[in-house]
Symmetry: C2
Subunit: 246 residues, 2 copies
């Protein structure tokens, strides 16, 4: 809307998968260089979103899937009683909107937790390209399959300690792959969202974090955490420390 004439051009330049540092963990992962250039032709960049702005909402028509470019997004559903249910937190290189393919409309909403931007992949163009580029087709299959595994983890039956330790380890691995510290990072999301995501109460998050700190597993100050004992956290997480979640 209020963009200058140069703006789209600059975005275009900045927005090439070919030159994107996230490409090794996003859609272009493993694709041949020539194939990535084909992707560049259909990827669109929107304006950055500020914290609290929605990327899409439940029941919106499904037109595209999104790849997080910067910032952190939260996806969630609101059930018939109005209760929010957080489905995931999405870091740069991760995808949003995959569950909308089948019903052809969005089932969940996606909102920016801080300032962030996404790449838009128009679905019809993406499927057409995937039919011509076998590597891309396989990659989309893989990404969809990976998403299933994420939800399987979430659906598993675990104690509060296991869930929270697994959550911290998951964030740790994901930050590490993105070039950030695996042991010191900031929890972008409020306690309330962590609790909701892990199907626990906010108070339980506070208490378990306090206990982890007391036991020397972590150092936590508001939203800044430092993981002091990764092995201890892994033992606490039990079966929830699967690296593939990153």
């Amino acid at each position: 809307m209020s963009q200058t004439l140069e703006q789209p051009h600059l975005d275009q330049l900045r927005n090439l998968c070919s030159t994107c540092s996230l490409s090794r963990l996003c859609v272009p992962m493993g694709l041949a260089e020539a194939d990535v250039e084909q992707l560049d032709n259909i990827v669109q960049q929107g304006r950055p979103l500020r914290a609290g702005e929605h990327l899409f909402r439940a029941d919106d028509p499904f037109n595209a899937i999104y790849a997080v470019r910067s910032g952190c997004f939260k996806s969630y559903i609101v059930d018939s009683e109005g209760h929010e249910q957080v489905l995931g937190f999405h870091l740069p290189g991760e995808l949003l909107g995959l569950d909308a393919i089948y019903p052809e409309h969005h089932r969940c909403s996606a909102v920016a937790l801080d300032t962030g931007s996404v790449c838009t992949l128009p679905y019809s163009q993406l499927t057409q390209l995937a039919a011509r580029v076998p590597g891309l087709q396989s990659q989309i299959f893989r990404l969809l399959s990976k998403d299933i595994s994420n939800y399987v983890e979430l659906a598993a039956d675990h104690t509060a300690d296991e869930r929270l330790a697994g959550f911290l380890l998951s964030l740790s691995a994901r930050f590490r792959r993105r070039g950030y510290s695996a042991t010191r990072f900031r929890l972008i999301m409020p306690r309330r969202d962590i609790a909701n995501y892990l199907r626990l109460a906010t108070e339980t998050i506070s208490r378990v974090l306090a206990r982890f700190q007391h036991n020397g597993l972590i150092q936590v100050e508001r939203r800044d955490v430092e993981l002091l004992d990764l092995d201890g956290l892994r033992r606490t997480a039990g079966s929830l420390h699967i690296e593939s979640l990153s």
Copy 2:
């Protein structure tokens, strides 16, 4: 192994998607007739499995996805402490093994709950065909996306009553689509598996079923159930009565 020479030929004939009554809710759903015939060329039929026999096990190499042809299958994972976690029950027309695409090996095991058979779709042939048949590619995207929604439901935070009512309604809708009664059916799986799937204790299943019966919602006798008050069950299920689960 011990098949006669005629056996494979007979299987081949019986096994055509083109003539399969399940095709409207399986992989061929919505495909053009010519495309379904292409599918016929790659679909393989294995011998029937008896109750307790495994279709695949966790860590098996991933070669194919499977479509249930008859019977009921259970998929589950076993965590590092040896605890079983049921991921789903799979009726005719439903798929198995989708979560194995990304890691290229099976993450869960699949076992027959009663005598049943599956169609085998070799993955490399399936992807090659999907690249040539746009409708098939879209259909696989849809099926993967649908699987995500199933696990989202499972991961949601619900009471024992909601979970069990939602489970009964899900079975009801799935049986109905397959031409069976939506109100009278047999629970193929033992209480223990239902409990594990719903992340509850076996005793809780018994108690809640007994209470549902006392409240006139259902009539239950061992594994035979009759749903007496569908609306009451829907109200009990709360947000877990989404038909798309079928």
